[in-house]
Symmetry: C4
Subunit: 225 residues, 4 copies
């Protein structure tokens, strides 16, 4: 590797290892069931969690570097069993810089029922631009999960897809954005579940959803340097 690449990979090893702590903090994962990856910008490479390793034991140096076919380039352990899905997304969606997968409980309950989360909350309009869609059932082990994610999210505002009977995949311009989408997906899924079991959620007008989404994507937060 060149020096520049080394520095970039080191930065992403640190970021990916640290971001798994957010999955734990927001209670999105049990045991080892959830993973974060980051694309190495401008390279056919990604940094991803090792398979079956406890979140307590994740450190920059045990993250795995793979190419975008999921072949390990640097790392002593096997990469996440979801590596093929992450890799497929990076190959098919060049604008994506981070991917997250969880089985977070509320979102996965919607996935188990095969129901998209309807948009009845301003927070959902802000972050997801409307409903959070359901993707197909797909077996692990080939490209089926990746294909289902890409087919569902391509051209969709939502950075999150509920894979049927399985769990959540989220994408972002970088790994941190994908983790934020995973956190907000569970938060929205929870509130939507609580509203459904409470009474009858009031629908929002599409024009209001559009207005909120447009504003949040362009105005919220600190403008970049």
């Amino acid at each position: 590797m060149t020096l520049d690449l080394d520095a970039e990979v080191a930065r992403l090893r640190e970021q990916v290892a640290t971001l798994h702590g957010e999955l734990v903090r927001y209670n999105l994962v049990a045991w080892t069931a959830g993973n974060v990856s980051a694309r190495v910008p401008g390279r056919e490479l990604m940094v991803i969690k090792p398979s079956g390793v406890s979140y307590d034991d994740l450190r920059p140096d045990n993250m795995i570097v793979c190419d975008l076919d999921g072949v390990v380039v640097d790392g002593d352990l096997s990469p996440s069993s979801d590596t093929a899905a992450h890799a497929y997304v990076y190959r098919a969606m060049p604008e994506v810089g981070g991917v997250v997968h969880t089985h977070s409980g509320y979102a996965t309950a919607w996935a188990a029922c095969g129901e998209a989360i309807p948009c009845n909350l301003t927070a959902q309009a802000d972050e997801f631009g409307g409903e959070i869609p359901v993707g197909p059932f797909a077996l692990i082990g080939g490209d089926d999960i990746g294909k289902g994610i890409v087919a569902t999210l391509s051209g969709h505002r939502s950075p999150a897809v509920l894979m049927r009977n399985h769990g959540v995949f989220t994408i972002g311009r970088d790994a941190r954005a994908a983790v934020k989408a995973a956190v907000m997906c569970e938060d929205v899924a929870r509130t939507a579940h609580l509203a459904r079991t409470l009474g009858t959620p009031v629908p929002m007008a599409q024009a209001d959803i559009d207005s909120l989404y447009d504003r949040y994507q362009n105005v919220y937060g600190q403008s970049g340097p």
Copy 2:
């Protein structure tokens, strides 16, 4: 600024930064979605959270000082995207010294359904004096949210309003009281949700609600210095 004002602003920067930790502790916020502000007593100024900054990174020196039109007076970052709503409340309700906004899940579920929380708990009678009301749906970006809060809470016992399809705003004589109202609003919303999904809550007599509210507002806690 005068020395007195400097000291007062410094005190409020510390208080507002610290109080955000209570939103995290009581699980009222995900990622960066919630904010606290305090009026600078006797001045046309408020101290508020910066926009889109992680709760881990809040410190007294990155809080933002704005005037009551929401214009930044002191601070390097953009203020919370909810600044206009906070500012509107301070302009319209001179007795209010603190404002809090969250999307806490149970309260927001009631807001999504457009249902006021009925008062079936002594804790709700104590703190809210009856039902917790619903405010109108309003888009962010102008004074509509602020107007909705003020229209709903003016002359109402409750320091909390459930803004439809959105979340909770609470007010208090200072920022700590507004945070307490946000914590108790979610606690009451949760218990009321659990009661609704369990069976049929038993109504309380209005005279009992009135008696509890009167006592709690006048007797509870330590008498002032």
Copy 3:
């Protein structure tokens, strides 16, 4: 105070202050809404939480010593607003050495519905010996709450009562036992709620409940020195 009494009160100040941490750990309390007390054995005295003080700020030296009419004997702050209820229990039930009050969410949901928690769990049979009963609605400020607790729990196996529209009071031979009952009451109330919203809980035979209760009260844990 005599030296012996001083030592005993010091021990109970430490114990009562520390046990409030268990209410926080098990998520039984929001803000300042919950309290623990201990009888001073052989004396007409009790140690109780001060009113409206944050759990973070409780220390042995700010606990309040009251007589069994609720009059402060030692302490600079006002005692818990529930002091009269604790005191009434100690006066009426000489075998009780500790009292706990919370608004823990699941148990309070049962209280809001005025429903006793039916005994469908071996853990409930062990600790409560059958259903957890509902006590009357009562206003704070006199002896009505205390009377309701005593009337409901006298001669009942359960150390916990669900006061209607209010919350939970538990008793024990000492403060630690009362705290354990409060923790187990919420745990059982939660599982019973989850079972009710899931399907149809299977009833247990009364003879099995009796057998479990008898064994747990006489065999479980380490035998005393």
Copy 4:
């Protein structure tokens, strides 16, 4: 004991004490209601939690060593009141190296209803190979619980059984695997509960369940040294 046995028992005392922390971390236990044991490989011995001791106070040196009839071989305290059930499992199932018992809330709610958890999630197919079965109601104190566990799990893919009106027992090749099964059982029970209260879970094809189970048992994680 021989030196080798001493070293092995010391290792298991440490492991069993530490693994109880996972029950606390994943919120599977309240107060002292849950326990982990490990078989001493190649010996008629097991290491188990003492009865009624707080999780904060568990240390390697207060774990109890029993023979497989539950008789204490080494330890100053009484062993867990569930020791007979653990011992029965070790006697009847020689491939089992670890046993865990909890009353974790969601799983116990299914147990209270006497309902097996249907397999509508890939995570459940991976870990449990299909539904999580219900075992019989059984009183504590003899071999009835152990017999119920063994009768239900023998020849079943699932390492977890929901004992009716009681709670969960899980088994594994070692104590860590049994703890993982307990964590995943509650996670799956929770998501299945949330799906049931939300809508209608979509069934999975048996062939897909079989495929997922086969892959997870043989491919997931790091291959052994």
